[in-house]
Symmetry: C2
Subunit: 88 residues, 2 copies
């Protein structure tokens, strides 16, 4: 099952690593704890909408930009699932 | 500030009303309480990723479809905000 938080976490991690920044750095700028950001990136915790905005801001990106990535990933994941179901 | 849960709620409500279905009907199919669905639709509660999937399934839509709407709305909202900031 595709979980929104998994894809949101991946998109946030991809944005951070593309900037070669550490969890500590981004968590500090976003004023969230390092543990919280780490759990969000690994899809283990749902980010609240407010903290998601703070993390996007800390990454110098927009919510729309992150959501664009997430939508494409979820779409790709859902078509793979459909293909597997069709083939079964 | 644009909040993800506000746009997710609007997209879910739009999908439900387009089908002329009641909160009770969709909440029943998704196995969530009517109060929970109502709060999610009004952007007052963050839907967990699992329950968001259940609501999408109950609406006969996909997470990707809902996210597509949400992304477009957030994008439109963010450009309005930027325009206002530019004009200030």
């Amino acid at each position: 099952m595709t979980l929104l938080r998994t894809h949101v976490g991946s998109a946030l991690r991809a944005a951070r690593t593309a900037q070669k920044r550490t969890l500590r750095d981004v968590a500090g700028d976003a004023r969230v704890s390092l543990g919280y950001l780490s759990e969000v990136e690994r899809g283990q915790k749902e980010a609240s909408s407010e903290l998601l905005n703070a993390i996007c801001l800390a990454l110098g990106t927009s919510l729309a930009e992150i959501l664009g990535h997430v939508t494409r990933e979820v779409m790709a994941h859902e078509s793979v699932t459909l293909t597997v179901v069709d083939a079964a």
